[in-house]
Amino acid sequence: MTARFDVLVVGAGPAGLAAAQAAASHGARVGLLDAQPRPGGQVWRHDVRKQAPRAAVAAMQQTAAAGVEFLAQHQVVAAEPHGLLVETPQGARHVHYGALILASGARELLLPFPGWTLPGITGAGGLQALVKQGWPIAGKRVAVAGTGPLLLAAAATLRAHGAQVLGIFEQAPAAAVNAFARQLLHWPARAVQAISLRARLAGVPYRFGSIVRSAHGSEHDNHKLCAIEIEDTRGRHRLECDHLAVGYGLLPNVELAQLLGCALAYGTPEYASAHPHVIVDGLLRTSVADVYAAGEACGIGGLAAARVEGLIAGHAAAGATDAAIALQPRRAKERRFAALLAKHFALDSRVHDLAAPQTMICRCEDVSLSALDGFIDARAAKLATRCGMGACQGRICGSALAEIGRFTRSGARPPLFPIRLSTLAQAEVAPPLSDEYRGH
């Protein structure tokens, strides 16, 4: 089954929705595909029990009204010349394009610590996503930890669904969070958001300089999480809980961009990053002809940056350069806010050193930290220990190892996700069978 679009957008979050709508507004035939069953991405993920934010409803309505075709449950697995091989529940599909916009968003940075594989421990945005899709949380005792404003958003969702949020344990020191809060005065809309979030979290302790050092499971009940140990300025203490939602911020999803050969960079002149983002110019063109990128894939920038970048990329991909250029000042402003976030919620070096020698780093293949001693690159470690060879293809352990300073992730190669053999059989370009990698 084959489809063809003038402009194809990968990822139906805020950036992708805006890009699709902007491109379609110039008469282009636009496809918007996403691995999830519904549009919205992570930040606008559909909630089975609560109403969607007004901006999300509006963006989805505008995209649909513009004639954009939404391709749900389309997982991109390989790149072909001006096309993608995707897997759907109904089988494999080729989707061809004139121009491609990568709005692949971000995932959470999940860092290993003793006990982090216990059932009941999720990402912070991770638990928020699960709960929005009906995960039973009412009455459960939840600790929220990690870093960044996402912790507040996650905690607010969990509370709205009936969770007993025991506390928000932010790794950044109080001085950094307070300095960030003062900067919000220059961003009134965001200050209002922050105040409203805090109001929804009234009574929930918000602790700074707090780090979850370890987690402990119950002897029975499948070793399910029963307590965590928290270290803060006053020392270490134990907290009994049913769930721990811990996330250390976000990192760009660049696997498809990498597969397409788009140039990547690490961090910006203002702040370093262990995680790559896609390099784009003022029109959001990547280094590969006819491939654009928008939103978190270009570096973590948040919702407002994603929306304006989506519009720019959509206009540019449809050939409406003037409309794209007109939005550049707005983009620059939103990107400044992102730099502010990165600066104030920089990770404390303590969170890089939490894993013990026996802590599992690769959860797919159960490879411990000590098994990786002596390796200086991901590929050698993978061949010798199977680290990163499992179903997630190193998305969790590879990013964690890069963050804690062991080694950078190896490059992406097809298939981008585990696929059925019947899908593989439909690939126009056979994935390499040798163990050679693109990228590093």
Binding site: A35, Q36, P37, Q42, H46, V48, R49, K50, Q51, Q73, R107, E108, L110, T117, L118, P119, G120, I121, T122, G123, G125, G126, L127, Q128, A129, L130, Q133, G134, W135, P136, D221, N222, H223, K224, M360, R363, C364, E365, D366, G390, A391, C392, R395, I396, P418
Partner: protein, 87 residues
């Protein structure tokens, strides 16, 4: 919001009712926290909640290794976790 339509599915043979649009992961969580066993036999459950980590994978209607967090419940689904599998 109340009054949502409910779907009935079976997790390890046990009947579960969940709102339409809920994920299979949410349905499983009503029955067990053990979604899968790792290669060394550890109990595992969803981690990322968004289709990246594969810790939530189960067998759905006979198809193995399906990410339950990415799959909406459909009436009559049969789900098999490693909790229900023979050890």
């Amino acid at each position: 919001m109340t009054g949502h339509r409910m779907n009935v599915i079976h997790v390890d043979g046990q009947r579960v009712e969940v709102p339409a649009g809920a994920s299979v992961a949410a349905a499983i969580a009503q029955v067990t926290i053990l979604f899968r066993r790792s290669v060394t036999g550890e109990a595992r459950a969803p981690l990322c909640g968004m289709g990246v980590c594969f810790e939530c994978r189960v067998t759905i209607d006979g198809v193995a290794h399906v990410r339950s967090c990415m799959t909406p419940v459909l009436h009559g689904m049969q789900v098999q976790t490693d909790a229900g599998a023979a050890p």
